[in-house]
Amino acid sequence: MYVARSAFALVAVLVLATGGARAQEVDPQWIGLALRAERQGQLPLALDYYRRILSLEPGDATALQGVERAFVRLGMRDSVALYAARAIEAAPRNPIPREIAFRSAASQGRDSVEVVVRGWTAAFPGSARPYQLWSFWLAQHGFTNDARQVLIEGQSWVGEVALAPDLARFLMGTGEWVEAAVQWRIVVEDNGGLVATGATGLGQAPVSAHDQIVERLLEGGPSQPTQWLAADLLARWGRPAEAWAVLDAALPDDRAVAVALLLRFADQATRMVGPGGWRARGYALERLAGLSSGDAAEQARLGAARAFTEAGDLAAARRQLDHLAGTLQSPNEDAAAAMAGFIRLLSDAGRVDEAEERFDEWLPRLGPGDAADLREHLAWARVMQGELDRAEALLGDASSVRADAVAGWVALYRGELGQARQRLRAAGPYADSRQEATERAAMLVLLERIEAERLPELGRGLLEALRGDTAKALLELERAAARLPPEGGRSEVLMLASDLAAGIADHQRAEALLLGALAADSSGPAAPAAELRLARVYAVTGRRTDAAQRLERLILAHPESAVVPQARRLLDQVRGAIPQS
């Protein structure tokens, strides 16, 4: 019985084997079952199905990829080689088995890989892929020169463009930036859409290579995309003027492309530091305005006006605003802000008349905050020109604390000390910046020491100091001091003058003024500060012993003075007890 059953089984197997081989075809369900088994982690089962398919159709790429995945996960990558070889034989025009064969050979060493690559390139003479993979493998394994050579050789077979991105990346990796730029030029001339990719890569080049890269990109009649690449790089490297010049010359006729390029450049320019970046942004937006219409054009023009204002380019900013004045549909905040910036720029440039005209013209469209700011700004500009009447006229009857502050200073420059005291006090400690508030407080302290209601010499002295004429300021302040009683502000005014003298390194005069201040009032509240200033003058001029004596006298005679900590620190410095700061 046993024998008979075994014999039957053998016969059955033979029948199935021979009959099956003849009749069996790939069951369409096998691939689905294989993928499901693979997903569920049943790799042997998946492998079984994949191999069944490949035994019937050795060139089936899907099954071959499945076999590769399963073997890799099982740590048996080498086993893929056999199936890949059969697949290549069965489907010599299919590139997938070639790639799988390459990956399988990659773990076996250089000779194995080279065999696969040679076969691949022979079968697919126009394919860049074997050169890419082969070069990458060589580079990864330290064969840098061979890797480069493979790409160069590949270019001679499949054309420069196909392997230029790979060669460019390779060259960037080896620090051959100029050569990489040549390859990127090939790339973008073929495909302008890769300009940003090239710029991102080449943007990392060291400064020493920048000039050569740009030179290579722009030599010999470059295409527009190559010029865009050069402009992008120059912008990234903080060379806005050159970047704009290159881009400006290479803007395409295609409006949509040009707009995209200009927007991108304007955005890049905001990241550049300094007026050059702002100016380049202004130019880009100005061009954009010319290519746009309606609101878009208006916004671009306003952006350009602001950019030129930030750049300090008065003429260009005016050009935008004049253009806008004629076309602006309705007052808007952006336009007002742009004009406010422009008015400030005009006044800072000394063109106060024009600034004031613009201010009057735009006043109805400015917000109250902007209007007040500009009024004070213009008033200070008039003060700087010595036109105190016009400054006062600008302030008019403004009653804000900031207007009080400006009015207080104007009164002071007129020598109207009583009025100045009143307005500066009214301005209080909060108007303007902390520094301005401190300056105001210091001036109030000085004014409180002076009993006189009018002292034109003091006003003139302070105004000349403000306007930068220190020599005149010193003369006026000395005259003012001479008119004051010794304990009624003379010391303080002389100290003020000494600060001016020290500021222009006229230490001799500063010393004389401070000695005069101390002679006028050696025990008043200003004396410790005068002693400290005198010690500083001595220290700066190398008279350390004199400085130390002054400081010791100050500390011992005025131990409660607020300047004693500064005096102690200076004493430590002149004695070398602490490092010079």
Binding site: L556, P565, R568, R569, D572, R575, A577, I578, P579
Partner: protein, 434 residues
């Protein structure tokens, strides 16, 4: 007088009952103040702790007498009430209090009844700082403290040490010298820097001029001279990498512990086994760092600042509270208005406990950590004190950083520890005379 006798003398006076001590003061056997005096409080009321040391030092220098009131208001000083001290205090912003004879009696009563003591200070010690001639004072926390406090010192270096000049000084300070002769292993990160080239040239020329084979041999010779100085009664205070490398140099008699870049031969791979730790002051059994590429010398340092694999973060260290009457020396060294002080790195930041010799007095440690910060011990007739780290007010000082401006840290607790060491020999000198 040997150190043991010194301690006995201090203890005997301290343990006298209050009335007897007052009597002793009147009898003229003690320098204690009998009339109006100046009290320099060193607690939180003090406005400039660091300059207070200078006031006391210069008072001693002028021949005045002073007392160090250990644990009294942060370790205050009682000086003779002279015009010069008053003037200096006013100029330097140091708080002084005029105290009457009755006040002094009250203070003594407090001192007698508490964990306090009054240590007489008689003579300002002569201070030497070991540093190359080109070193600026701002490279070294001790010279910064001395300059700021106005305490006079001399700079000495290898030629002076080897010519026997150390005997002229009571107090010697070492800071970041590398006594293994390897230039602090700065070759690793500062190779090519002009200052390093200058340093190498200066050291090599000095070794040659003194007839020594190389810099490693030069530094060993200097280390051994310093050991003899301490043995003969000198006071040694070291910080930073000088602590660790001095010990290594002392223990490495006849052993090559310098890398090839220093002496032309590689370090002896069996160096650790050949070290003679009985020759060192504080440490024993250390493993040496054999790699010239690791900027560390041994496992003495707990923090290993330049060894990324072993580097430890900074915590805070705590000063120990000693019995002033029984252990006045240790008490003097930890006088401070703060018990807990933020830690600070140096090439050597701290000292692993398991490398300390038995008998080393730990003055401060980081609670729970395996390292200590501040240690002290005796050697022969002298003493040594080590404080790990480079600059108490610049916790992560790097070469090229701006120098610390102590006028911005006039009450620095870490710098107080340094200055305690400067005045500590003044106390001993007085006892040596009795």
């Amino acid at each position: 007088m040997r150190r043991r006798e010194f301690l006995q003398a201090l203890g005997a006076t301290a343990l006298l009952p209050g009335p007897l001590r007052a009597l002793a003061a009147r009898s003229g056997d003690s320098p204690r103040q009998a009339g109006p005096a100046l009290l320099i409080p060193m607690d939180d009321r003090q406005t400039n702790h660091l300059k207070a040391y200078g006031i006391t030092f210069r008072s001693l220098r002028r021949g005045g007498r002073a007392e160090w009131l250990l644990n009294y208001r942060g370790g205050s000083y009682l000086l003779e009430a002279d015009a010069a001290s008053r003037r200096e205090a006013a100029l330097q912003g140091v708080l002084v209090e005029e105290v009457s004879a009755a006040d002094v009696v009250g203070i003594r009563g407090t001192v007698a009844a508490s964990n306090m003591d009054a240590i007489p200070l008689e003579k300002a010690p002569k201070v030497a700082v070991y540093a190359p001639p080109s070193a600026a004072p701002w490279d070294d926390a001790v010279t910064m403290a001395l300059e700021y406090a106005g305490i006079e010192y001399d700079k000495i270096w290898d030629p002076e040490v080897l010519r026997g000049h150390l005997s002229r000084y009571e107090w010697l300070h070492l800071h970041h010298e590398d006594f293994t002769g390897q230039y602090s292993k700065f070759f690793l990160t500062y190779s090519g820097s002009p200052w390093l080239s200058d340093m190498v040239r200066l050291h090599a020329e000095t070794a040659r001029a003194l007839g020594l084979a190389n810099v490693a041999e030069l530094k060993k010779a200097v280390a051994n001279t310093i050991r003899r100085y301490v043995q003969d009664g000198g006071f040694l205070f070291a910080m930073c990498t000088a602590t660790e490398t001095l010990e290594l140099a002392l223990a490495a008699e006849g052993v090559d512990i310098a890398a090839r870049f220093s002496d032309g031969t590689p370090m002896d791979p069996l160096a650790a086994e050949k070290m003679q730790w009985e020759r060192s002051f504080a440490f024993q059994g250390a493993s040496l760092e054999l790699s010239p590429a690791v900027a560390s010398f041994s496992d003495i340092d707990g923090h290993q600042v330049n060894n990324p694999a072993l580097r430890q973060p900074l915590g805070a260290f705590q000063l120990f509270d000693f019995s002033a009457k029984i252990d006045p020396v240790a008490t003097m060294l930890v006088q401070c208005h703060r018990d807990v002080i933020p830690d600070f790195y140096g090439l050597t930041t701290s000292f692993n406990r398991n490398r300390l010799k038995p008998g080393v007095t730990v003055l401060a440690d980081e609670p729970g950590a395996r390292w200590v910060k501040y240690i002290h011990g005796e050697y022969g007739s002298g003493t040594w004190t080590y404080l790990g780290g480079h600059d108490p007010e610049d916790a992560q000082h790097q070469i090229g950083d701006p120098p610390t401006d102590l006028s911005l840290h006039p009450s620095s607790p870490g710098y107080r520890l340094i200055l305690n060491n400067v005045l500590f020999p003044a106390a001993k000198k007085r006892e040596l005379k009795t």
